[in-house]
């Protein structure tokens, strides 16, 4: 069917967005609504000596001013950490308290000190200026490498180290390093990023004193989890007394997974003042207080034998988790990073150690790719460095070390078992798409124009669709990672799907409907999707980690199978046939070997007008639910190749061509998949060339607006060539793997490798992210002055 799986149908949700009818949190208003504004710390690290709210409380329009003391008095807890890991020494991850309004101490610029609630936002802002906070300043902790010996940030976190974790076999890896014929060493830094979803975070909270329940509209990727955490862990109220709705959400990229102080404060305060409270971040607040991403330093050692086969890999990592442990901060650099270190390569010995450090910077958590871009970056940079060292073409060196296609399922040395994959055809196709073999001609042509042209390859794997709950639980996760789906068939055969996943740009209203259309043979127009409302949807885990389709879609298939199964029974009754003889095809139930058939709509009607119905064996109605817990991660993989031109006089790097060949398994809507790839690549190019969150030595964020934080714009990017190979996932019914993060995972090393390739004639051998014009120019100058000496 043309609207089913595999069709590039246009999106059902587009019209509302295109006509300005999208309904984001800040678009919603409630009668009697007040406005909240947060007083934030402007120092990175300090004891709070006093907070004087007197003047603010009596200012025009002010309804209430609250501080940490009020939070403590009401027994409100802070957001919890959703995943912890054991340390090397057997101790647990150190989890310091994370108060929603500062309790005696501030730990980063932007930390919430007080909230002012007033009739208008302008009044709240003006009153906030009157809140006098006296600080006793403490030294800021900004330098990640020196954090362990810096001033203590939390008394619960000795040496500012939240955890010191390891994975893999240290002894065998060190042995491999010792006996190797060559060890390639590289230190790379994964720059700190600010996710920057275009819709800033917002919350609208209200309390109903009759039902004694709260409603929170918020910008969340997983409203159900927000509800669980706020109700059960922070407020200790019955979960049923809190409804959380995430309406249209303008992008997330990880930053809207977590429960943030602001939404909890507004919810708590809405009962205290018994009026609705709205809070919307401005962009600078977003820069200061959204969870940031990445910020790793990785020391890599890659051991090769005489035949240039990899025999071992050791990676020692320190990562910056910021001032507090955000919800999934611990899992990102550990189980979403360490476990990916085998990449697409057959590596017999791997060991990794990760130290998660506290600093006086904003909390760091998952950002598009979450751990996997860091793993891919260090590995793909090192693969290129190794190829250069041994004088081998980087694609040939990769090929030599790929996991062969007959080795699947492949057990890595870092816990994961890849179910399926075939890496050579991806690389072949990407090379063909970019015309790899004629690159040198293009390089010489560019040289005539005074430009240095380079080509860079990245072959990646990622683990999506996290994860079997039991496995995740054993590894430290405190949540399950299944997904829910309900299919409600109306009497006339139209369908409403309820999912626990959340769409904030991914196009679920379309792709989920395509699955229904394919399975039930109904037109796309007859399928609606409801998501993001704890009052309507079953418990689910939301959307992140490219999981919606691989887990949520799989749950939907299970629910649809139940609908079909029941429908068959109804059809058998109506057609007086045995259930075994009823076949369902293209929306029709037919009795094999006869011309008897019933349309899906007729079955639906019979289910709800059950005059002729097998009441003794079947309940009326047609509505089924399913929960799906994945059997394994899914493993998308691919090859991305970037071509860049560097202007040696200015250091400007221009991305001139891009080829991506990815294996996402089966595609539900290739048009949407392609859009996800484009967006991911753009964010990866942003990381590699433009974006950098920069704190000065006092912990002041100097890149807190688009004046200084460089967002990719249309003229920074090329058009992309996107292609696919397909080895369907073996353990979900759709054969899908997930595509949301691939571009952001694959692209940064491709670019940096291309820059190094371009500049290697000048003697440049290393480049850190972001490769800004100034940095590239300086590297060229430095290498030339070395050459001159």
């Amino acid at each position: 069917m043309s609207e089913g799986i595999g069709a590039s149908v246009t999106r059902k949700e587009d019209k509302k967005f295109l006509t300005g009818k999208g309904r984001y949190t800040d678009d919603i208003n409630r009668p009697g609504q007040t406005h909240a504004y947060f007083v934030r710390s402007d120092v990175a690290h300090a004891n709070i000596k006093s907070i004087d709210t007197k003047a603010a409380s009596s200012a025009d329009g002010v309804v209430a001013v609250y501080t940490g003391e009020d939070v403590v008095a009401d027994g409100i807890g802070g957001p919890i950490c959703g995943w912890v890991v054991p340390c090397r020494d057997g101790s647990a991850t150190k989890e310091p308290p994370h108060p929603i309004l500062a309790n005696g101490k501030v730990r980063y610029v932007g930390d919430h000190v007080a909230v002012v609630i007033a009739e208008t936002l302008a009044q709240a802002k003006s009153a906030a200026e009157l809140v006098e906070v006296e600080y006793e300043e403490l030294p800021a902790v900004v330098d990640l490498e020196k954090a362990s010996s810096a001033t203590e940030i939390h008394k619960e976190v000795p040496d500012n180290c939240y955890f010191d974790w390891e994975l893999g076999d240290e002894a065998s890896t060190d042995k491999a390093l010792k006996s190797a014929s060559r060890v390639v060493k590289l230190t790379v830094r994964n720059n700190r990023l600010v996710p920057n979803a275009m819709e800033p975070r917002a919350a609208l909270a209200e309390y109903d004193d009759i039902s004694e329940s709260y409603t929170l509209h918020t910008t969340s990727q997983n409203p159900q989890l927000t509800r669980l955490v706020i109700a059960a862990f922070m407020f200790q109220i019955p979960e049923s007394k809190l409804r959380v709705v995430a309406p249209d959400v303008g992008g997330g990229f990880g930053s809207k997974i977590y429960v943030y102080a602001e939404e909890a404060v507004c919810t708590w305060a809405s009962k205290k003042i018994n009026r609705p409270i709205k809070w919307t971040a401005d962009r600078t607040q977003a820069f200061l207080s959204d969870a940031h991403g990445r910020d790793h330093i990785n020391n890599v050692q890659l051991a090769l034998d005489d035949n240039n086969k990899i025999v071992g890999l050791r990676v020692d990592t320190i990562c910056n988790l910021g001032s507090y442990l955000s919800a999934f901060a611990v899992s990102v650099p550990t189980y979403l990073h360490g476990t990916l270190l085998s990449g697409v390569y057959d590596i017999p010995a791997i060991y990794t150690n990760v130290k998660g450090m506290a600093t006086t910077t904003a909390p760091v958590d998952a950002y598009r790719g979450a751990g996997r871009p860091e793993a891919t970056y260090l590995l793909e940079r090192t693969m290129d460095a190794a190829a250069r060292e041994i004088g081998m073409d980087p694609t040939e060196f990769r090929r030599l070390n790929f996991i062969p296609k007959d080795a699947f399922p492949y057990q890595t040395q870092v816990a994961l078992q890849y179910d399926t994959g075939d890496y050579e055809p991806q690389l072949d196709k990407a090379m063909e798409m970019i015309d790899y073999k004629n690159f040198e001609t293009r390089r010489s042509e560019a040289a005539k124009r005074g430009m240095y042209r380079g080509i860079g390859v990245s072959t990646y794997i990622e683990a999506c669709g996290i994860a079997p709950s039991a496995v995740a639980g054993a590894l430290g996760s405190r949540v399950g990672l299944y997904e829910s789906a309900s299919v409600r068939v109306d009497p006339t055969g139209t369908i409403t799907v309820f999912t626990g996943a959340h769409s904030h740009g991914q196009g679920h209203a379309t792709t989920f409907a395509q699955i229904v259309s394919e399975k039930l043979g109904v037109p796309l127009a007859n399928v609606d999707l409801i998501h993001g409302d704890s009052e309507k949807n079953s418990f689910g885990m939301g959307t992140y980690g490219s999981r919606s389709l691989a887990v949520g879609g799989a749950a939907l298939v299970k629910a649809l199978d139940k609908v079909i199964e029941k429908s068959k029974k109804i059809a058998a009754h109506l057609m007086e046939a045995s259930v075994e003889d009823v076949e369902f095809k293209e929306g029709k139930f037919a009795v094999a070997g006869t011309d008897k058939e019933k349309a899906f709509g007729e079955i639906a009607l019979a289910a709800y007008v059950p005059h002729n119905y097998p009441h003794e064996t079947l309940e009326p109605g047609l509505e089924e639910s399913a929960f799906y817990d994945p059997l394994n991660f899914t493993y998308p993989s691919g090859a991305h190749i970037a071509e860049v031109e560097v202007d040696p006089a200015t250091g400007v790097v221009k991305v001139v061509d891009w080829a991506a060949c990815d294996d996402f398994g089966n595609l539900i809507n290739p048009m949407i998949v392609e859009g996800q790839v484009h967006g991911g690549i753009a964010q990866g190019i942003g990381q590699a060339l433009l974006e950098d969150a920069h704190y000065d030595e006092n912990g002041q964020l100097l890149t807190a607006s688009y004046m200084d934080y460089c967002m990719p714009r249309a003229d920074d990017l090329p058009s992309f060539k996107v292609g696919y190979t397909n080895t369907p996932c073996t353990h979900n019914d759709l054969g899908v793997k997930g595509c949301g993060e691939a571009g952001a995972i694959a692209s940064p090393p491709a670019i940096i490798n291309a820059i190094i390739d371009a500049l290697s004639p000048l003697g440049v051998t290393d480049m850190s992210m972001p490769a800004t014009p100034q940095k590239v120019w300086k590297a060229i100058q430095d290498s030339q002055s070395i050459a001159a000496e």
Binding site: D42, V109, K125, E129, T284, F287, D696, L702, D708
Partner: protein, 153 residues
Amino acid sequence: MEIKDSYKLPLSKERVWAALNDEDFLKKSIPWCEKLERRSETELAAEVKLKIGPMSTRFTGSITLSDIDPPNGYTITGSGKGGIAGAASGSAKVKLVEDKDTTSTTLSYEVSAQVKGKIAQLGSRLIQSTAKKLSKNFFGSFVKQLEDMDKLK
């Protein structure tokens, strides 16, 4: 950030040192200073209205003198809060070196500046230039006053 400069004054070290400790002199030297009141030997309360382009913010704070080594120099630190704009502080190590013939003195300074809050978040491109400009204005007008007085004599 390193901001340094020096001036040669046709005056004795003692004369320059006295001026460095004279609040009227300081007040006239501090750019856009609207108020300066001595609180103690080493502390003065200050109010400055800082104008950088379209920005115009009143900073209230203090001027403190430390590392006092008469008549060879001191460290003068100004720090103030600018309300919603954030806070700023600048510290100048001032050194006086008399020439061999004792007819002139070289005043040299080294400034370090720190900003907090909105000014840091939004104005990073201007921090260094502004700090340099303010230091230059301060020492420039300090020196000019001294020279003018000298001429009057």
